[in-house]
Amino acid sequence: MGQAYSAGLTVTDSIILRKERILPLKGKVLVKKGDKVKAEDVVAETLLPGKVVPFNLANKLGVTPAQLDVYIKIKPGQQITKETILAENKGLFGLGIFKSEVRSPVDGEVENISSVTGQVLLREPRIPVQVKAFMDGMVTEVMPDEGVVIENKSAYIQGIFGIGDETVGELKMLAATPDDELDGAKIDESCRGKIIVAGAFVRFHVIDIARKHGVKAIITGGIDDQDLKKLIGYDIGVAITGHEKVGITIICTEGFGKITMAQKTFDLLKAFSGKKTSVHGHTQIRAGVIRPEIIIPMNFEESELVTKEASMPVLEPGTLIRIIRQPHFGRIAKVTSLPEELTKVESETMVRILEGEFEDGTKFSMPRANVEVIES
């Protein structure tokens, strides 16, 4: 057999990306087509009505509802703060002795005043719901009242698994080699607000140190299953993640356990150390898979924003591959041949295999299902 399809994750120094940024409720789009935006820019927002707070003002002031009209200092629609005096009486004999006043319990707006019940309805400030651009880029499409499409050219890495929401920060390389385990002592205040890169592994107590120093995200080769459980508080049954509120985003590029980060991934992150980076840990491993993403935007011209058609990663003699299951998990090799007949492997399973060669010249064979293509 000449070639075969093989699954693989994208790791590239240049790709055209396209992201929809949509409001949960209809609102206002704040940018227009062709605008260049920064990741932290709000591109659309809507204002939700604030909470209504009923407040019995007549009672508080010690007057009847009918009398309230005389003492009230506010009118419907007026903006108020906690300092605003809602009503005050004139004190004993109108001389200001023992004068009492009632201040607003909340910031916001006066909604309604009832002279029948003596109650006022105060509304807390409107709550903005905003959508940010998430990645530096250009607005290429506006969906009126809903949101926009942002496109850019980026260096791009798909993680295999992640937790935590979208975040943006400067990329900081803490690992010297792709098989490094992240040392907590390397994390200090210089990491605050940054996205740090571990090598092969990061332990729970180091994640904790990172959180304390305000690290926004950690990119690591692997994480231990039990550390993940400690971090999120439960054991993951089906991998649908990304909305955990754990104070940090984590992206694994390889998997669970200590696994050397793929050299290509490591080199790419190292080359872009210091650059502004957008990441998220959203993962859904089911049909229509979603994987976490590491996006490092680059300068581009509008004419470059042409998405290439997806190509099928193909195995053939000469293809560079990475092994994604034991034995040799994580090692890089080159395909030397793809025998057509089913072959018995150590587990006695009859499978289609590939024959390959490691960089040191050692030869091996392995089920084709257990490798991924490294696209050059």
Binding site: I236, V238, I285, G288, T349
Partner: protein, 620 residues
Amino acid sequence: MQYDEKRLTRIVATDCGSTTTKAILIEWVDGEYRQTIRGEAPTTVEAPLNDVTKGVINATQELEELARLKYKNPNIRFMENGKFVIPRKGDLGIDAYVSTSSAGGGLQMMVTGVVASMTGESAERAALGAGAIVMDLIASNDKRMNHEKIERIRQLRPDMILMAGGEDGGTIKHVVEMAELVSGADPKPRLGSSYKLPVIYAGNKEARQNIIDALGEKVDLIVTENIRPKLETENLGPARDKIHDLFMEHVMKQAPGYNKLMEWAMGPDLESVPIMPTPAAVGNIMQTIAKDEKIEVVGVDIGGATTDVFSVFTDEYVFNRTVSANLGMSYSISNVLASSGLDNIMRWVPFDIDESELRNMIKNKMIRPTTIPSLLEELVLEQAIAKEALRLAFEQHKQFASSLKGMQRQRDISEAFSQSTSGASIVNLMTLNLLVGSGGVLSHAPRRNQTVMMLIDAFLPEGVTRLAVDSIFMMPHLGVLSEICAKAATEVFRKDCMVYLGTCVAPVGKGKNGKPALYAKLELPDGKKFEEEIPFGEVRLIPLDEGKVAKATLKTFGGLVLDKDKNKELTIDLHGGKIGIVLDTRGRQPFVLPTEKAERIASLKKWMRELNAYPEHILV
């Protein structure tokens, strides 16, 4: 429309599973239909391909290559320019392409209710009872703001939403508010197909019209009975059944590129042949076996995301089918661990392994679902997990097959807060005649002995039960093929699909290790005899080929019995198979493994060695 060999000489059938797309070639050869070649490829439901037909092309490409090798004919081709050529013209093309699909994988739902701890929890129980994972429970009183709830619905991309809330005659306002939220989220099916998202309404019946007004246009709204008609009455059955049916008919078979797949599936007159959900196709086969042989059958199909169990019991051939939507060997493997617990998996492992290593291995399989175990140790671990997935799926099946559909269950106030089930299952292992296994881990186990071991350990058959396996996993294909050519499906099923493994004899009851449990005298057709008084806690394997019968005299000791009439002595014909007769004196009801680790490992090794399940070096 049915065709015969005049029109159908070469057929490609595929099953698009969540993990692997399996293609088989069925041909009219020397006056009969035979399954001749098999190919497979990873199912392509991830970017950049995200189109299930790419997996079909890859699996078919493998079929073509193997066909050229087999027939030494370099001109054989089934596809041209990435599409099937129908009808066949000599070496080029095929006469029909049919397919089943379960590529959509597991079922992840959201449920809504008015009060989280009341109707919300009832809805959650109904969803869990149907085998779904509940991604979130949204209730009027859950303290989140509405836009946060909407955001959540959109981000989680549920496959289905179950809306409950309000007693009959109770609150309408809050239930309608929930419907407005769902409407605001405007949820779309996660795979972006043309169908609308199924939303089941099982709340206050007085609010039905309001719900229809709020949601009728946007979603595929199904209205069913209130799951909580009164505070103290819980009626989960109708909602649970609806979830189950909708999942199988709509969600499970869906996948990116599904519309294209539908266009591809056609018979010789270019007429469309509907894609069948995998469990529907396998269910047809199981029912046919039961009726043809006039026997009681339990069948199982274990996949990457789901495990489907089928049973046909009683003289009326009552058929039950359950799809455990989140028990499987790849996408759902981590959920098997979460559901069964590590100890239950470890109890089947005949060697010491570092717990964290095993946990990480399971998670790695989940995130890279298409990989396969090439190391023996990993195979043993995956088969240990498979036993638990099968056990849990069978438990779910027994519960489902216990109550009549639509039956209401009255709960008192105190019970209303606790989850309990009732009703006797119609699944009776003592009367079961045949246990059939299908799915990758069972059909492709390197040794059929492993299949026998997994079936026995997971299902714990009682009395005398025949065991069989789908040879290379083709039951779904044959189930859908029968829609256009029952003759081909039947012939291939008998000749190439159904592999009888043998018979398991397992006395029911307690015993003490080492004490006599079963006297067995087997007269084999070649004149040889097997005779032994087998102690409790043992397994024996007596090889006997398929089609051969041993005359057996069986006698139990102590409280052990052999059949539903509690007979302690039987003279019976035992059927052979690829593996033979298994005499299992480890006890049933209860079946207990030694709790002490060293003793358990020693026992496992002894049984595995007796069954010849693994190479000797891993059992030393």
